[in-house]
Amino acid sequence: MSGATAALDLAPDRFGRAKPRPERLAPERRHIRAVLPGALAKTRPRPLYAVIVVGAVIAIVSGQLLLSVGLSQGAYQIQQLEGQQVELGRTSAALAEDLDRLASPQYLAVNAQALGMVGNSLPSYLRLSDGAVLGTPTPAAASTSPIFGATLVPNAQTATIPLVGGQNPAAADGASSPDAGTTPVPLQDGLPSPTTR
């Protein structure tokens, strides 16, 4: 953008065709004047505005500070509660697992046997509609009861859980059931619980 364009721009000047334009613009320019320093000096500074501005800044900064303190406080609380939730969830899962083990038929059967209970293989029924007794009611005896040995249907999950009265489940096998029938083991401390608890 050099010589060639410049030459073209200059051309009208030489012929004097564009001359009237600057004259027409001149009066408009006169409306714009420089602001004199004296004009500002006339207005006295108002301290109220300064106070408001400074106060607002302080209020905003302290507000933000308090807010972030509050937020992080909340975040800590959330974290703590979430941690608690995880721990409670774990406890709940562990207890459910224990319950499932304690509810296993092997454990219930050897426990019942340890308490001196025997199975009745000769059921009889009372029909409610007419009061009829179906079947022949016969007292169940240890001799006719199926023997529930803990080792017949093994369960690694309950092998270490003590029976009622603190017996070892392995010891309370089929062989000991006739004794258990004559001397029932008293239930001492409510239902048994796993040793791990």
Binding site: D100, P105, Q106, P123, L134, L152, V153
Partner: protein
Amino acid sequence: MVRHTKTTRRRLAFTIVAVSIVMTLFVMRLVDIQVVRASALSAESLEKTETGDTILATRGSILASDGSVLAEAVMRYTVQVSPKDAGEFERDVDGTEQTITLDQATNEIGAIVGKAGPEVLALITDALAADKDSLYALIAKNLTLDQLRALKALEIPWTTFSESPSRVYPNGAVAGNIVGFVGEEGEAQAGVELMDDSCLAGENGRTTYEKGSGGLPLPGTTVTQSAKDGGDVVLTIDKDIQWFSQQSLAAQAQAVGASWGIVTVMEVSTGKLLAVAEYPAVDPGNVSATAAEDRGSRAFAAPFEPGSTYKSLTAAALIDQGVVSPNSQVVAPFRYLPSNGADINDSEFHDDMNLTLSGVMVQSSNTGMSQFGEKLDADTRYAYFQKFGQLQKSEVGFPSESGGIMADAADWDNQTTYATMFGQGFSTTAIQGASLYQTIANGGVRMPVQLVEGCKHADGTVTDVPDATGTRVVSADAAKQVSDMLEMVDQESWVAANVDVPGYRVAMKTGTAQQPDGEGGYSSSYLVSMAGFAPAEAPQFVVSVNLADPVKMNSSAAVAPIFRDVTTQVLKSRGVQPSTEPAPNLPLDF
């Protein structure tokens, strides 16, 4: 002026060319980066900035029909230490600082994880010996929550803990052979665990984020794809009946020295398996305690020659075809030599007996049954085997399930043509045997065998519910007549006293089958069976018992106590009313 312009133009041209070249190079580079190598480069950049964690999906549970848990996913914990940092530390005990030595700390850890203190210490010193800057040594895994909490309470600064999903079987060996088990890494290996792995296995989720310096996630870059937990498989198995069956089976199998045994309990109206008890049983929580060959399910996978319990099939086919009735008569000799050259014997010598078909069933006479059975051609009888579901796998689709072994009717030799009438010369599984009796008990309508109720998802929907459309195999009348004959067997056969279930009418058939020796002949070992249903007037439950090679009692008397006890227990636990109508009384001889 002209000269100046010329120079300017040359410069201009040079500039344009130079700029163009540079632009072209830039564009080429841009295309190369943005288009040609775009995916490789962005992958590389993500690798440097993005990181992620897998969110483990929980494997579903396997539930018994009442909802009790047979297999479930649990969380176990692993404790590891940083050997480089292992040493003395201060512990706050009741407000005073105490110095805990390394020995003390390892003793404390050992007491909780069940190892000796020096053993724990050795793990640390070994790791240091291998690498003096070692930051990782595994101390113990598979710890329970209580152990984890006890370890955390020790406040040892150089211990860390991690979670590892595990699987437990709270009911041990109850239905263990059916439930199956998973491997060390949680991969399904056998049984329902394997069969319904697609239902049980969840889909792991993943959370990814771009990491800043220090590895912290940049805010707003975290993308989480949540894990989809597996569904629960609900079985048709009744936990208590299953346990009682296994208990009863194991006790008797040990008493008579059987090598293995199976008890199957099936619901007559639905074909649902309430119990598939096996001996020896496997405890999925302690698989290694059971021999490898006993870890699967023989009931599904191991076919055997069933023996006389399959006379019921021949009788049902004969009556359904209208060629005989329960009162049809035959003279049953000890030895029968049919015209085709076969040689049929009864199990024990006897003089000729004048028997009805009912009598043949009660006496379990092979010669008598052969003379009735030959009234139907081989193809017709083969078609009945097919219709009774004896030639194909059951609808369960158990891993390694067998569909039995039977040659085409056209390939039956002289002996097989007759042997198939009384349960020899072919093999079926225990499940197929139970299904045969289910069909007879259900008025001739065979129901598909069901082991699984369906796959229950977290939102409560149940999918993969098996088809439960029955197919008629024999007429209701034929089924009733066979049922009546089976009731005669229960009352009149030589083991009748051993199978009496007081108060109830029971239909059953015994079987003592010779087992193939693997060389085309028969070995000296027997498989004794008893299959039947109760209450006979309105059958609800099929009970089928098989015992292999009971060395101390080689007859169906060996299985009688199991059949009686399990039948009684099923009727009792399901609250079935005792029978009030008298049992049929069919003539057995003439």
